[in-house]
């Protein structure tokens, strides 16, 4: 790369979409006057194949080493232009994208002059940043072909089988003596209109696992320690009195769940031998150790659907299935199910109908009035309020089954610490994102499945296991993981080892050495910039979004008429989506905003807000993703806290903190963004 900066600016007409409002030739002439600009071109459709060809030629012929595209929105077109720049032989990180359609021509259709001025400003900001851009590169971390699966239940075995099928090695670490997990305690599994012995299912799966040459099973095994990260894990497993050391690349967590045992005395549990939980009943049904009952009652939602615990998710179908099993065992017996809501889906209702036909009695009790159980004549008396009849009933029972809820396995705390992942208050592991990453943890290379996440049916557990195998297999198949070049970089010169970055990184992408010096595991970094904005010593830089680059944009935006401008930082994912939506919907709003794109609202440092104030900005706006959405897990929460600190600091330094506004916009919030701009312009008297 040559030393002299030669910036090429390409301004798009987008047919009449931009050129119909913005005076593009004027913007072009203006761009020519900006520092380091060596070439400016106007294109009717910059994204068309011929225009891209012209751009590539210009880059090569004019020796351009930075490129600014002023056109639609980076959210749709940046990859295209990046690829073209790369084809022209330039590092794609040397491209800066300026949005003059969604942010200008579509939203200021009736103010062509002000729109043109805004377009010029945005181009100037783009050029100022472009001058400071540096080359970046995708970062690769090698990943091997060995996975550890923690837990040998049905979801763990399903995961192992699919990992193994691709020729990868799977190591199952099972704490119990046998594979099969909680299903080993269950008598039957019902699906649609047929019921299958659980032992058959476990056996069929276990046989496949044992037959696979790529699966190694450690039973009675416990994980002693885990070090490293994806591609690079060292695990010590204690099994059969010795320690086995494994070197593995990915991890699947499938530790399962357990029943929450009721306290002694609750519904006579632990005091009367005929009171048992559903799993205890399953074991009795399995060993055929259950006879002589005349009156069986099942109470659902024991310990569930209250402040501590939610719906156990599986209790209703289990209660119906087991009521039928009891009835089958002893057709003359009375069987009652006492319930709050009968929560059955699709096929499960087949069993419900069957249960009704078999004479099983269903009694709904009110949410706030659980049945009372007292000893009577050697048996039990269950007093229940029938919600529908509005009457109290007393049912004699010589068998009482409690449908209790579930929590994660006992090992959950140990595994959480070893893998540095999180759990929720109900004792289950917390996935990366309920919808975007239901089988992942935030850290790459660690997948999650089955009842370790929350209670599930057998079918769902197996599906999750197979899905988790996919999540673990992708990097193993590719042989590497790759991170975009937008990552953090720590300069240790001024670092005082406060380790804030290490503690706050949502991805575990910062590690510390023995002397507490932090460093970035670049392949794991997602580039949100939270660490950089929080670092008290300003040691951290984010490639493509460095403090200097962002500051150059701030300075350029506020060089002229700062008192008319609202300097706005918007996150790439949702806020810019809202801005684009306002554009697409042609919502008209005042022209004062000068937008600076950041990947996450957590990137915005207080010093830049303060700088905007110093330069005399009319106002400052920070827009992030609406709660709870954040592309970087919790960046918007971090931003909210920081803005509070910023306000205090601004006040202390004699500025009006009310000119700083923090807003949350979803990608559908076009109208909201337009309203924010209108409000701010009014409040700041920018009429």
């Amino acid at each position: 790369m040559n030393d002299e900066l030669r910036i090429g600016v390409f301004v798009c007409d987008c047919g009449s979409n931009i050129a119909g409002v913005v005076d593009v030739p004027d913007v072009v002439e203006y761009a020519k006057t900006l520092p380091h600009v060596a070439h400016v071109d106007e294109g009717k459709w910059s994204c068309s194949v011929d225009a891209l060809g012209t751009m590539k030629e210009a880059i090569q012929e004019q020796n351009l080493n930075r490129v600014v595209i002023a056109s639609c929105t980076p959210r749709t077109h940046e990859p295209l232009f990046k690829a073209s720049v790369k084809e022209a032989g330039l590092n794609p990180y040397l491209l800066e994208f300026v949005s003059i359609r969604e942010q200008v021509s579509w939203v200021h259709m009736n103010e062509p002059e002000a729109a043109t001025e805004k377009a010029k400003d945005l181009v100037k900001m783009g050029v100022a940043k472009a001058a400071l851009l540096e080359e970046g590169e995708e970062i690769r971390l090698p990943v091997g072909r060995d996975a550890m699966i923690i837990g040998g239940g049905m979801s763990g075995m399903s995961a192992a089988l699919f990992v193994a099928e691709q020729g990868f090695k799977a190591y199952i670490v099972e704490k119990g003596p046998d594979l099969g997990g909680i299903l080993n305690r269950v008598s039957t599994v019902a699906h649609d209109d047929h019921t299958v012995p659980a032992a058959h299912i476990v056996q069929a799966t276990r046989t496949k696992v044992e037959a696979s040459p790529n699966i190694t099973v450690y039973t009675n095994a416990e994980i002693e320690s885990v070090d490293g990260y994806i591609g690079n894990y060292k695990v010590a497993v204690k099994t059969g009195g010795e320690t086995v050391n494994l070197e593995i690349s990915t991890v699947v967590v499938a530790t399962g769940m357990r029943e929450i045992e009721p306290e002694k005395g609750v519904f006579q549990y632990g005091e009367n031998p005929s009171v048992m939980t559903q799993l205890q009943l399953e074991e009795r049904l399995k060993t055929d150790d259950l006879d002589g009952f005349r009156n069986a009652a099942i109470i659902n939602c024991v310990g569930s659907k209250n402040e501590e615990h939610g719906c156990c998710s599986v209790g209703c179908p289990v209660s119906v299935k087991n009521a039928l099993a009891l009835k089958k065992r002893n057709p003359d017996a009375n069987v009652y199910i006492l319930y709050r809501d009968m929560s059955l889906v699709k096929d499960e209702q087949v069993l419900f109908q069957e249960a009704k036909r078999a004479g099983i009695k269903f009694v709904r009790f009110p949410d706030d009035r659980y049945p009372e159980v007292t000893p009577e004549d050697g048996g039990l008396a269950v007093k229940v309020r029938d919600f529908l009849l509005g009457e109290d009933l007393t049912i004699p029972a010589d068998l009482l089954v409690l449908t209790v809820g579930f929590t994660g396995d006992e090992s959950i705390d140990a595994v959480r610490g070893q893998l540095k992942v999180s759990t929720n208050k109900e004792g289950f592991f917390q996935e990366r994102h309920i919808k975007l990453g239901p089988l992942d943890f935030p850290a790459d290379g660690v997948a999650l499945c089955g009842c370790a996440k929350n209670p599930k049916t057998l079918k769902e557990s197996c599906e999750e296991g197979i899905g988790a195998a996919m999540r673990a297999s992708i990097p193993m198949k590719n042989g590497f993981i790759e991170a975009e070049g937008i990552v953090a970089d720590i300069d240790l010169t001024n670092c005082d080892q406060c380790n804030l970055c290490y503690k706050r990184c949502p991805y575990g992408a910062i590690e510390i050495d023995e002397e507490k010096r932090p460093s970035v595991i670049k392949a794991l970094c997602k580039g949100c910039g939270l660490c950089a904005a929080d670092c008290p010593k300003e040691c951290i830089t984010i490639v493509h979004y460095s403090d200097e680059q962002l500051q150059a944009q701030v300075e350029a935006a506020l060089e002229e008429d700062p008192d008319k401008k609202i300097l706005s930082f918007v996150c790439h994912w949702c806020a810019l989506g809202g801005v684009d939506m306002a554009g697409v919907s042609r919502l008209q709003y005042p022209t004062n905003a000068r937008l600076i794109r950041v990947m996450c609202s957590a990137r915005v440092p207080i010093k830049l807000i303060e700088r905007a104030y110093e330069l005399g900005a009319a106002g400052v706006l920070v827009v992030g993703c609406e709660f709870p959405t954040c592309h970087y897990i919790s960046g918007n929460y971090a931003c909210e806290k920081r803005i509070k600190r910023a306000r205090k600091r601004l006040q202390k330094n004699g500025y009006d903190p009310d000119k700083l506004r923090l807003e949350w916009c979803s990608a559908a919030d076009g109208p909201k963004f337009a309203n924010i701009m209108r409000d701010m312009a009014r409040e700041l008297n920018l009429g």
């Binding site: 809501d341 529908l388 089988l439 559908a668």
Partner: protein, 446 residues
């Protein structure tokens, strides 16, 4: 053997199956018979139990699919014929004419503005949602290009003043229609992307495996059910969802179909149509949480709105769902266990009068609402029958695709190499769809 896979349906399940398979290294054809990928999720407002904005979560994935080197998107495309071949399948797809050149169109919207014919939108028609015959399915559509309704092309709309106006020439014969306003507008933009004479096109592929992710639909009640279509201000939960959506036809204003006035007292009837011949014979599992969400969001729009949910059994299955129900109650929604039996309209005010049995007291109660929402549940997609026939796989008694052995071989069908995920398997939420999609992609590439 080909390592290419075909995914039928590009909603959230199809998209996730595609992304996983493509990241794994497989070449993916992602096919959808509508003009955009995104499916049902792209039209939702928020998603339970976190109230994440639906398009905020899905749009980045749609965008990733669009830019993935291993994924080819084929919208407006149907599966016509599938033949087992060697260890894979020979597939014939038909790409329905979109009457727009996808390569040339930039989604600028000049053709919509020029199009003189406005018709009610398929989804939002009852709640002020109109579209032109030249249109974009929704603002974030991928591909972000226009589509022209075939109704226009064949001149069916002539009497309503279609662009082809008094033209007597079938546009399929015409190469250069000077009167078609969309053609003209596009030419004026310098793009010349409208192709009124475009024909359907066959595409032949050979693939290793097929994932069916053809989705699910919100049930549309029969006329008269709880006043649907007989009372103006009775709508379905899907219609209400569109009403709340800032990107929907009213820009997120919760207004009544009868008079566009804001609704101040809104009722929800759960399990609407459940067990009826024309309704859903089963619990669709998501409606309780959808109602909880809709009441929370309604309260966020305007805290003074009174919300009531009439229900029988509460379904708060799964992670975080119970807490979400509690949140709805905290936000002030009134839950009433009830059996509604009669809904009538006050012709003067347009208000909806409900008579119901309060299950707790056993007494009949009458109450008036500004707007009534029917939680109608989910039904199999209308496309299932045709697709099952083409793929030679079976449907279950409800009309969902049947798994051969749901417990030992989940998501597999009678035909080896054809896998299922998402709403194609039955009522399901987004998170579960993503899980199944990931699992199906594993089976498809393994």
């Amino acid at each position: 053997m080909s390592d290419e896979i075909l995914i039928v349906g590009a909603g959230v399940a199809g998209i996730n199956a595609a992304l996983n398979a493509a990241d794994y290294g497989a070449k993916v054809y992602l096919v959808d018979d509508t003009p955009s990928i995104g499916g049902m999720m792209a039209r939702l407002d928020k998603t339970f139990p976190t109230n994440d904005c639906s398009i905020c979560i899905e749009a980045p994935q749609m965008y990733e699919v669009d830019n993935h080197p291993n994924i080819e998107i084929l919208t407006n495309t149907e599966v016509k014929k599938v033949k087992k071949a060697d260890e894979g399948f020979k597939v014939r797809l038909v790409r329905k004419a979109r009457f727009v050149d996808e390569e040339k169109c930039t989604g600028c919207g000049a053709c919509f503005e020029a199009c003189p014919v406005t018709i009610p939108d398929e989804m939002d028609g009852r709640i002020f949602g109109n579209r032109k015959l030249a249109y974009m399915p929704f603002p974030q559509a991928v591909p972000n290009v226009a589509v022209i309704d075939p109704d226009c092309r064949y001149g069916n709309m002539n009497d309503k003043g279609a662009c082809v106006g008094g033209c007597v020439v079938d546009c399929s014969q015409c190469r250069e229609c000077p009167i078609a306003l969309c053609v003209k507008a596009c030419k004026e933009e310098g793009k010349d992307a409208v192709r009124l004479w475009q024909a359907n096109k066959n595409i032949n592929l050979t693939v290793k495996s097929i994932i069916v992710a053809s989705g699910i639909e919100g049930a549309v009640p029969q006329e008269g059910l709880h006043g649907y279509r007989t009372c103006r201000n009775v709508i379905t939960n899907m219609e209400f969802e569109r009403l709340m959506n800032a990107g929907g036809p009213t820009g997120g204003e919760i207004v009544r179909p009868s008079d566009r006035e804001h609704a101040h007292k809104i009722g929800w009837i759960q399990c609407a149509g459940r067990g009826l011949d024309h309704g859903t014979p089963y619990c669709s599992k998501v409606c309780c949480m959808i109602a909880a969400k809709q009441t929370i969001i309604t309260k966020e729009h305007d805290a003074s709105v009174e919300t009531t949910i009439f229900y029988n059994d509460l379904k708060a299955y799964g992670k975080g769902m119970w807490g979400f129900y509690e949140k709805a109650k905290e936000s002030g929604v009134r839950y009433v266990r009830a059996r509604p039996y009669d809904v009538t309209e006050d012709p003067d005010t347009g208000n909806v009068r409900i008579r119901y049995e309060d299950l707790e007291t056993g007494r009949p109660v009458e109450e008036e609402f500004d707007l009534l929402v029917l939680s109608t549940g989910l039904v199999p997609s209308a496309r299932n029958k045709k697709l099952a026939k083409a793929l030679k796989i079976e449907l279950d008694k409800f009309g969902y695709f049947k798994e051969e052995d749901p417990i030992l071989a989940p998501l597999e069908t009678k035909v080896k190499g054809v896998y299922l995920c998402g709403g194609a398997t039955g009522p399901i939420d987004i998170s579960e769809s993503v899980v199944q999609a990931t699992a199906a992609s594993m089976k498809a590439v393994a």
